[in-house]
Symmetry: C2
Subunit: 644 residues, 2 copies
Amino acid sequence: MVSKEVKAMSHFQVKIMPENRVIEVEHGATLLNAAAKAGIMIKSGCGGKGTCGACKVVVLSGDPIIDGTGNLTSEQLSKGYRLACKTLVQGDMSMEVPLESRLQEHQVLLGDARKGFLQESKHDLLEKFGRHPLAMKQRVTLSKPTLTENSSDWARLSIELRRALKTGDKPIHIPLSILKHLPESLRKANWDVSITLTDTEEGLTITNIEQGNDIPPYGLAVDIGTTTVVVYLVNLITGEIVDQQGTYNKQAKYGDDVINRIVYAVESEQNLIEIRDAVLETVNGLLDKILARQSLNHKDIASAMIAGNTTMTQLFLGVDPRYIRLEPYIPTMTTVPSYPAREIGLHMLPEALVHCYPSVASYVGGDIVAGTLVTDLANGEDIILFIDIGTNGEIVLGNQDWLVACACSAGPSFEGGGITFGMRAMPGAIERIMIDPETLDVSLKVVNNLPPVGICGSGLVDCIAKLLSAGIIDRAGNFQLGHPSGSQRLRATADDKEFVLAWAHQAGGEKDVVITENDVKNVIRAKGAIYAGIRSLLNMVAVEIEMISKIIIAGGFGNYLNIHDAVQIGLLPDLEQERFEFIGNASVKGARLALLSKKAWREAEELGRKMTYVELSVGATYMDEYMAALFLPHTDITLFPSVQ
Amino acid sequence: MVSKEVKAMSHFQVKIMPENRVIEVEHGATLLNAAAKAGIMIKSGCGGKGTCGACKVVVLSGDPIIDGTGNLTSEQLSKGYRLACKTLVQGDMSMEVPLESRLQEHQVLLGDARKGFLQESKHDLLEKFGRHPLAMKQRVTLSKPTLTENSSDWARLSIELRRALKTGDKPIHIPLSILKHLPESLRKANWDVSITLTDTEEGLTITNIEQGNDIPPYGLAVDIGTTTVVVYLVNLITGEIVDQQGTYNKQAKYGDDVINRIVYAVESEQNLIEIRDAVLETVNGLLDKILARQSLNHKDIASAMIAGNTTMTQLFLGVDPRYIRLEPYIPTMTTVPSYPAREIGLHMLPEALVHCYPSVASYVGGDIVAGTLVTDLANGEDIILFIDIGTNGEIVLGNQDWLVACACSAGPSFEGGGITFGMRAMPGAIERIMIDPETLDVSLKVVNNLPPVGICGSGLVDCIAKLLSAGIIDRAGNFQLGHPSGSQRLRATADDKEFVLAWAHQAGGEKDVVITENDVKNVIRAKGAIYAGIRSLLNMVAVEIEMISKIIIAGGFGNYLNIHDAVQIGLLPDLEQERFEFIGNASVKGARLALLSKKAWREAEELGRKMTYVELSVGATYMDEYMAALFLPHTDITLFPSVQ
Ligand code: FES
Ligand SMILES: [Mg+2]
Ligand SMILES: [Mg+2]
């Protein structure tokens, strides 16, 4: 053991924001190491050589040794940005680790959409529904038994709980695992106990008995996406989002989309368990991280609400997903029963219930129902269109009187799949592009201002709009090699045609970053699928585009989308920008809402039942609409009056 | 491998009745071995030497080799009785193994009391409560899903179930283990399925889904006694007791009474599991036997109802029993929640619920509540006294308006414990005794007319009554060595005085079978405890003995008791014989009733709450009554007008 004096001389405290965690490190430690010690992983693309700039952090206080600033701009330096790998601790200090410098978490949409665009407050419906969480905690002090006041331990506890909670006749259930140790639980606490309970329509269930304390109960709101998983830790008393964490779904190794996951899962009983465990591990991993960060324990988690698409929900529960992908596409369940965490495998109170959002059909899942709840779509006269664009584009249309929903296979283009240089909206992704129509010279906006390495979904939409307006492609997406500019960027290859977005030397790689004719056609098919879905729903209920008062867009891709571009290429209906709204990760927000409000949860279940699922593969309408939409912006140009 | 021909030549089939089991044995095997091979244990007191006669069976058909007939009488031989140990198989044959020849099971009171005394029909309250079992089975045929009729599997099933069962709004729950395989369950059965469900106040729970069939659902009614365990297999449609089986509680090795069991159980977590497993094994063993006999499967058992005293119930569930034996004697629970069989470990449908009768207090348990339900005690104006005499004597007094109950430590005398030649009512037990008051000559009635080896509870009561009337003991139980007969039977030993019931040569043993002064004092203490309990309850509610319209006696000992003797020694109140009634194993009967009728089950829970438990150790009344009762029949002889 080092003596206290020596220790005081060579160790310093580093506070890390926004976590507000304090870590003790040795003199000379890098901020990269300090963060790692706190469980916060910072990106280090160059391996800590100080060249990639991915590890930038903001020094808030203190005076560390600066061993290099790499490619940081003077503007960044003036704002306090430093390279975590080249900044050494020599005294107490504090730093902020910005989202974009964090490993994994950075590209997961934790919830909120971009600032200034979304009126977030409008969507916090908690006020409206009222706070009445699905789990609670009650402290009670029991009278000690005597020979004359000799009722059983369980009678003593349940009567006092009933009195304190004013539950009336509602049954209170005690699980066997807790009953077994009830005598000791009460006596060790000297009859002053804190009781955690799950509260459902059918009754109250005790999920924990501990020494009386005033720690609030916490709940988990979880969005299980096919690609990413997001967890909110919610204080069930205040409703506050105490912490949040997101990462990739570990199921990714079994395939990118739900179809591939199902194919893998149904090969054997073992595969199903394996793929279920992968998502469990993902959620538990996020949870463990949050608990460590908040100095909380698994037993403090009293409830969980999961929102995921139908396949994700079935895989999460280990329920045979076979028939989701076989005609007539039947999910095992739409309304999902709640089960104790111990049966599911989540790291929380074993007896606490895990709830899953109801689905509507095999391809309109709980994430969409959660999103629909958050949009408040079903509570006014105005007709609202809600779109979640991911690998599948799910669309909901309706108002207080009716709701229709459909899913269209947009394909993975907008998430970077099937596109030569496609990527997610990570650092290095081209997100905006400008093309000089005369010279075809290009200027790019790249995430984090790094050298461009690929193009993300919103970049693609922009790119295609610009290719079109520059005359590089025609309305069918065909490349026009005879462009008057004679630019070198527009060229034919052995088996395709392509346009160079960034030359290899600019890209810092060995290859030119290009977009090919095939890429363009893929995007046209993807946007066509979504637009045809929208049109099919509108046709079905005889609603004109103009009658849509609001279009709400959810999901990671939507979040970065430029509306003008999206209308230009015919992905979104041609309405004024004011009618569009971004809602971010609506799924996890809906999960939080239901976790905090029994009324919201009831309404969610009601929503699931009310929504009419439209199977697009039935009838010719969708196919006709799809064929008509395989044009920029559309075969019927009158649908896009604002597009020149 | 033996060739088929050789095998046919040397093996024969032995059918065993009433099990109707067929066993294949080799030429020359004894019937004792054949039965053992079938899992039917026959007693063999002499170890198969052909001398004790304990192994007698009835040969029904076939022509076995008779190698000896030992002490069988010519009358027995003419009825087909043979010694199982000395009868050898030489061809196909069949035999019956009578109850009295069976090891273990024979002395367990399966339910019915002696014929001719009990009006059994009066106690079948099923008519009154109405048949509405706690579990049911419903066959439904579902429509196949199509693209337009594409509701989920679970929606399809639950809607159809709801329609078939007319359950209205009652929630139907599906366990995760069943949901996981729902798609295959429905499709493999081609949408024609039989659904087993548990039906409780809180809702219906699916416990099995199988190919459509018409096998009825079965239930288990179980009496878990400290000493013996009895299982009824009940057809939940007809209410019929299809089969029954009883044996000793395997917990016996941890102590004879509940106190010793608790002491063992609380030594460690492991001990508690061990002692719980012992009773589980006992019940599962009986169940397995019954299922094999009935060619049924564990999945056919859809419900279980357990009645046991408070300690037995807690140990069965593995619930810490520590405080039952520590002042102020607090049980963990009186009302017992129901749990799925998989959590408890019973060999039945894993998701089917196991229900336990509620207790009243630490020493008035679910067996007494079950018995009280069967006596119909709480449903008329007449005051009824219900007594269950075992190691503990539990007493209930009341009518429709009030119910009081207490427990008194009678000690094990009536079950043979603490008595020099005490034994249970097994073959060889003295059950009746006559003593010539002049000569003190003795004639005995011994169970199964075997040579006497000991004396059972009812024999003891009779014996003491006869010792008293012959002037061998005085009213305090003191031996009168100066009896005018001068009989050799009455004698002093080094440290006690005794009376010889049977000489060694008659008893077929090496020792005279005697009753000692100490034995007599033990019985007086036991009967005093019970009578004092009765008097204490009567005093408490200011009821005179004469006001008791009926005394109902339950339990194995009660079943063989001679009322006249019992009144003579002051064990039972001095009322005319017509007011006494024997009810047999009321506990298992009550279990069956609640299994078959939700109304009965509700009334049982109501009974448990209504009963006022009187703690005899509080206040002086009981002690005074006890001291006064340590006399034959009592210090206050006016309480026993019929006793000379
Ligand atoms: S790790 Fe690359 S600059 Fe710091
Ligand atoms: Mg999503
Ligand atoms: Mg009993």
